[in-house]
Symmetry: C2
Subunit: 435 residues, 2 copies
Amino acid sequence: MTLGRLGRPRPWHLLLLLALAAPAVLWGAEGGEAGLPDLLLVVAAMLAAAKLFGEVAERLGAPAVLGELAAGVVLGPSLLDLIPSGTMPGAEIIRFLSELGVILLLFEVGLETDLKALFRVGSAAALVALVGVVLPFALGYTYWAGVPHPMMGDGADLGTVAIFIGATLTATSVGITARVLTDLGKMETTEGRIILGAAVLDDIIGLVILSVVSGLAAGGELSLGGISATFGIAVGFLVATVVGGGLLIPRIADRVIRMRVRGVVVGMSLAFALALAAFASMAGSALIIGAFAAGLILRGTPLHHAVDAEVRPVAALLAPIFFVKVGAAADFTLLDPRAPGAGGLLLVAGVLTLLALAGKVAAGWAVPWLRFRRLAVGIGMVPRGEVGLIFADVGRRAGLLSEGTFNAVLLMVMLTTFLAPPVLKLAFGRPPEPT
Amino acid sequence: MTLGRLGRPRPWHLLLLLALAAPAVLWGAEGGEAGLPDLLLVVAAMLAAAKLFGEVAERLGAPAVLGELAAGVVLGPSLLDLIPSGTMPGAEIIRFLSELGVILLLFEVGLETDLKALFRVGSAAALVALVGVVLPFALGYTYWAGVPHPMMGDGADLGTVAIFIGATLTATSVGITARVLTDLGKMETTEGRIILGAAVLDDIIGLVILSVVSGLAAGGELSLGGISATFGIAVGFLVATVVGGGLLIPRIADRVIRMRVRGVVVGMSLAFALALAAFASMAGSALIIGAFAAGLILRGTPLHHAVDAEVRPVAALLAPIFFVKVGAAADFTLLDPRAPGAGGLLLVAGVLTLLALAGKVAAGWAVPWLRFRRLAVGIGMVPRGEVGLIFADVGRRAGLLSEGTFNAVLLMVMLTTFLAPPVLKLAFGRPPEPT
């Protein structure tokens, strides 16, 4: 958990990265059109940098996802400027790979989501999740739309942006939380069960909120009717596919498991996830709702463990491409104190981080009649992680979040994700708060 | 090995495929621009069809790759016309995925290639390989450039096309051959060792030939000097990277194996394969020479088994995308007896198949002083498989092979691949030919 764990300096970390990145830089500098070899080098550099920085992050006691974001900052316009974006050649392909990464990420979350265990934790987790969504959303929305701040006029319509800001504050990263609880050996405690149950519910609520805000981002109307419709579609799609798929898919899975051709499990299950993601999008919801539903459905089949084992290496390749790409969208030159608005950006990022902390920590007190470590539960809900990043990325690409706002949100996501694990460790060391 | 193995009809095979394909057809029919959801459906349909048809092929006793080609024929312009090509939206992304598939395929072949065992089989395998390359090449070149046939004037310069035709006849599919030998339990026989050793050498020679013909395809000069230069670059790149990488990479692998971040082995090794593929291409050789070298190098490191296990599911996803895409390039409407030139196409395909058989079978008699089943060794070298397809695809995309010629070559590859396994089984039942 300390720098000491890194041991003596390992120059090969940097050497390997440079060896991979340098030719791409040189090639790019020649001004030639980016061809297939250049694009292969970019993907290679993204993969290698994600794993190197992820490893460094883990050795520092932080989640790997922070390292992947940092890798993106290094490869992005702030430093090496290697990753094609916008209308540059190859940008479309990198975007597609990173969309596949998000789909695989949510497919895996679905595979890991135990709906039955969730129903057992029941009301406590539900209440914590509800407060942990409503409170941060209300705080974020009120701050953005109601309190004067340096970025008030940036980006699109104030109300729409405020909804987006509120939405990014609602997320809880079930992946990071589960990882930290496992590392602390607290998965089987009351607090652990409540945190995980609430985090899973948060994921589902967050996906539905994402459908709504994606609808807004695509130019949907900011009316109660429009929002309700999007909400209805997302919930309806989830319920319909999970119930319908739960009846149909296990029979198909029974056949697939008896097929012997190489890679049949990973091929079929990924085809299923991609198809459901596409259907969700065509039905007017978000891609990742479909990917999540596909994971939930396959979890209940005899294929579950085979899928889990074979999808893992694929997700371990593609999900980092997404995080590196998000990191590359950050422009840390905006934080340079001499840059115009740098102070304002830091102020806004700081306030958002405080609101993000306050809203989730307060959720620990949502169930006053049960005795448990409320601070631990609250802190456990703090890391925004992947889901917060997906929100921020959708808002940025839709042009809803200005560059400054996106960077402020990104800082908030990184800070909450970075702070939570060590604080959670401390909170578990304290006795439960009195009821 | 018979149709009976398929058991009772399984309507779910077709149902699942249609369920995946139908929305894409409908969507395409709307005439809207292909967006991300459409592309996801196309990829899903390619994956599902590849696995279903691959399974059917295996149950019929044929290699899975034939099923994947058939899946391409069904999804391609001959029937459903689902796969974007040329300048259609999404075509660039499908092409990139299929290039990744080829790279992964050759990376795996490299991982499975035991150079030391190869040196032990020694002269017998080398002679069989040499005759099995020179003879089919000479037969193919002479037929195309010297004997009048219905497609004589098609495509580019006669001499260049004849070299390409000769080159496609030289390939031996080490993957298919190894699979069939394993199925027959003949891997450890003299014949098995010679076949495999020669097939591996064939792969290496084939890759070098591919570099040469790729150079021709890219407009390189058809001079002895130009061909020697390309040959020199390919051999030089292979030797330099395998020797240099063999010194450097095991040290890096020692570090990587101690890293703990999720997916570090698959991420790092794939980054390495992509980077070497790009370097090979930039050095003036073929992408797959680099991918193959990366596999050879990693085989000699402590990472070997971890890489093998984690790369397998990724290759099982991406390689079929390549084969489906090659199958989709086939236009079986050309075989319709009413189509102009259908008879000529079948005639040419038939002659090419006979030459392909004759050249490889004769190679079994290349080592007259050793006693073994010559027919079995010859037949074992017959399946062209993946490598022949890569050749044909390069020629088609470079505009060297006319549509008719490409389809004739494709038929030859499919016929040799389809015929070899059952005939090999028969040949192993016969006593060795007298010395």
